[in-house]
Every structure is written in structure tokens, then in C-alpha cells.
């Protein structure tokens, strides 16, 4: 099964072979989780969303024509679900109902001291969380996933030029935030 190509896995999945689908899940679960985790910055939420990604994939695999790579298709579902999750979370924040996602604020280190790795990580996560959704998505896909702009453009239904501008804005904001917090 390890030697199967995407097309073979896809064909087997469309025939309803659960083993093939499980193979697809195992091959992509960590990548999907990683990108979702970067987007929503909460492990539990990310795991739930990752499950939803594969359930949605299972439900719609008949409609997937194989024009794109499987992982591109899965990432697209993952980004859509992540962005929807962020939107819902914004609603909750807007409505002042939940403080559970704001706990990272307390992890921001005090100025004028050397940062431990976990503090630096918290600082970076806070900086990323402050980005607008689209810039966050572009940053995650470009920096962490190292995807080419063309692929990101396909995932987010946008232009390469716009993506480069978004990525630049994201990096500039993260740099400014980190520098400000560390000064």
C-alpha cells in the first residue's frame, strides 16, 4: 500500500475501500494537523478540525476529480475549516463570551530579559494570532509549509501578486511585534 500513487489511492477510496482511505489519512494527518494547528493555535481545536477535514474529504471524495494533488485538496479543506473556525472564534471574542483563547497573552514575556525558547514560541504565536486571517493563512502556508505561491494561490483562490503582498505584510507585522515586545 505504501507504494501506491495518489491516483490509485483515490480510485480505491472512490470504490469505498476503507483501507485506502485510512492510508490516505495516515499519509496526510500530520501535515493537515500541522497547518491547522498553526492556523488556530490550539491543539485540541486543531485535532477536532483535522478530524472534520478527513470526514469532509470522505464525504466528498466522489466529487474530487483528481485535478489537484490529494494534499492540495486536503489543505484546501483544512484552510476553509480553519478560517471558518477563526471566524466563529472571532464572533465569540467579539461577543465577549470566551477568554479561553486569550490565555497566550499572559505568555508574552516581560521586556528587557532573555527569552527562553518556549517564551519565544509564545511570542511568535501571539504575533501570528494578531494577523488578519488571510495574512495568517499565507504566512503559515508559505513559511511553515514552504508551499510555492502558485499552490497557495490555488488553495486560497487568490492571485500570486496579492499573496506576495500579504506575505510581506505578515512578515513585517510579526517582525515589528516581536521587536517591540523584546525591546
Amino acid at each position: 500500500m505504501e507504494q501506491l500513487r495518489d491516483e490509485d489511492i483515490l480510485a480505491a477510496c472512490k470504490k469505498g475501500e476503507r483501507g485506502a482511505f485510512n492510508h490516505l489519512v495516515r499519509a496526510h494527518q500530520e501535515g493537515v494537523f500541522r497547518v491547522v494547528r498553526r492556523m488556530v493555535q490550539d491543539s485540541d481545536d486543531a485535532l477536532d478540525i483535522t478530524q472534520d477535514v478527513f470526514i469532509r474529504a470522505y464525504e466528498s471524495i466522489d466529487t474530487f476529480r483528481g485535478d489537484a494533488k490529494i494534499f492540495t485538496w486536503l489543505y484546501k479543506i483544512a484552510m476553509n475549516l480553519s478560517l471558518n473556525h477563526l471566524r466563529k472564534r472571532k464572533l465569540r471574542t467579539l461577543l465577549r463570551l470566551s477568554a479561553e483563547h486569550d490565555t497566550l497573552h499572559s505568555d508574552v514575556p516581560s521586556p528587557h530579559r532573555t527569552l527562553e525558547v518556549h517564551e519565544l514560541r509564545a511570542l511568535i504565536e501571539t504575533a501570528i494570532r494578531k494577523l488578519p486571517d488571510k495574512q495568517r493563512a499565507v504566512f503559515v502556508l508559505r513559511y511553515y509549509e514552504e508551499l510555492p505561491y502558485e499552490e497557495i494561490a490555488s488553495l486560497l483562490n487568490t492571485s500570486v501578486g496579492g499573496l506576495k503582498a500579504n506575505y510581506h505584510h505578515a512578515v513585517r507585522k510579526i517582525e515589528e511585534y516581536v521587536r517591540h515586545e523584546m525591546s
Binding site: 476503507r18 489519512v25 494537523f33
Partner: protein
């Protein structure tokens, strides 16, 4: 090339992800542009000294348990009763009929209240801008609505009806969300429930988008 065109390429140059053609243009520009040089130094510092700390995840995921739960959820999905096209149309027709009846009943009831209270209401949307009126509206739609105002919480609850496909329920949800969001007290009451029931999570993507759009239109400050 202008600075503006160069600056968007600097993050990729700093991260070592810039193509060789672009890199040549950028390098040439950098020789004579101090502003871009400064930006590149800052980005290089960010990519080399700061961001690598965030590349390592501490998450320990039990992927075996993940797989078991996922298969269990897929089985649950599969075992769900499939609805035929004819059934969907039948349910849609009945739903529409019940909505019309519900709105009629509500409208009639409200008119009585209008008489009693001597309040003039202009249209159905205005009628719905009170908790009581919205609750009555929902009561009349019992069994088909995706939203249910619970007396206990005086709030909004997403209670999806399995038999109805999402696209049909979304329209009804839109109307009710519009109605309830038009009234601050009702919205506030709804939020109390949301705090408890986390109803936003239960809303479908389309419904949350509608809610989000409405809130934006109403000039709520969204972070």
C-alpha cells in the same frame, strides 16, 4: 525595479526562498537602497534568530486514537439515514407550508398585541425585534426551525433537524438571526445561552457567515 516591488520579495530573500532570477534583481537594487537594506536586515534577523523557535511543535498527538475516533465518526456518518430526493422535496414543501402558517399565526397574534398595547408596528421584521415576539415566532415554527429560543436561557439555540438539508435550514436561520440580532436585548439574551451552549460552534459555516456579516454591518468592532 521600484522599492515597492522589491520589498514584497525581501521576506523570501531573508528566508532563502527567493528564485534566482528575482534574487538577482533584488540584490542589484539593494546595492543602492538603504531602506530596503534595513528591511532585509530586520527580516533576516527574524527568520534566522526568532522564527525557528516556533518551528518545533510540542504537541504529542496519539494518532492511533485519532484514527479510531475518525473511523468511528465516519461509521456514524455512514449509518445515518439517507434521504431521497423526493423526500427532500416533500420536506421542503411541508416546511415552506409550515413557515407560511407559522408566520401567519404569528402575524395574527401580534396584531392582537398591537391592538392591546396600542403600538404600531410597520412590518414583520419590526415585530420580531422583541424577545416575546421572536419566541412566539419560533414556537409557531416548532419542528422545522433550526433555531429554538429556549425559555430557560432566553437565548438562541442551534437545534438542527436531521431531516432537513443544510441549505434549506440556512434560509430560516438567516431570517431568525436577522430578527434576533435586530434587537439588542434579544441578542444579549442569546449571548447568555451562547456562553453556556456554545451555539456558534453548532452553527453551520453558512450561518456563522451570515451572523458575522450582520455583526459587521451593524458596526460591531471586530478584532
Amino acid at each position: 525595479m521600484r522599492c515597492r516591488n522589491i520589498k514584497v520579495l525581501l521576506p523570501d530573500l531573508a528566508a532563502g526562498m527567493l528564485g534566482s532570477n528575482d534574487e538577482r534583481y533584488v540584490t542589484e537594487h539593494l546595492r543602492s537602497c538603504h531602506s530596503c537594506q534595513r528591511d532585509l536586515e530586520r527580516y533576516t534577523s527574524l527568520f534566522e534568530e526568532i522564527l525557528p523557535a516556533g518551528k518545533f511543535s510540542e504537541d504529542n498527538v496519539d494518532w492511533n486514537a485519532f484514527g479510531v475516533e475518525l473511523n468511528s465518526r465516519i461509521d456514524a456518518h455512514k449509518s445515518r439515514r439517507r434521504i431521497s430526493g423526493a423526500e427532500i422535496y416533500a420536506v421542503a414543501a411541508i416546511s415552506l407550508l409550515l413557515v407560511v402558517i407559522g408566520v401567519s399565526l404569528f402575524y395574527g397574534g401580534l396584531m392582537n398585541r398591537v391592538d392591546e398595547d396600542s403600538i404600531e408596528y410597520g412590518n414583520i421584521d419590526q415585530h420580531l425585534q422583541s424577545h416575546e415576539a421572536a419566541a412566539m415566532f419560533v414556537e409557531n415554527m416548532e419542528g422545522i426551525t433550526v433555531l429554538d429560543l429556549e425559555a430557560e436561557h432566553s437565548g438562541i439555540k442551534s437545534s438542527f433537524i436531521d431531516m432537513l438539508p443544510e441549505e434549506q435550514t440556512t434560509r430560516i436561520a438567516d431570517e431568525l438571526l436577522l430578527a434576533s440580532l435586530g434587537h439588542a436585548a434579544l441578542l444579549s439574551a442569546g449571548l447568555e445561552y451562547l456562553d453556556d451552549g456554545d451555539a456558534i460552534t453548532l452553527l453551520s459555516d453558512d450561518e456563522s457567515n451570515v451572523l458575522f456579516t450582520i455583526l459587521e454591518q451593524q458596526h460591531f468592532s471586530i478584532q
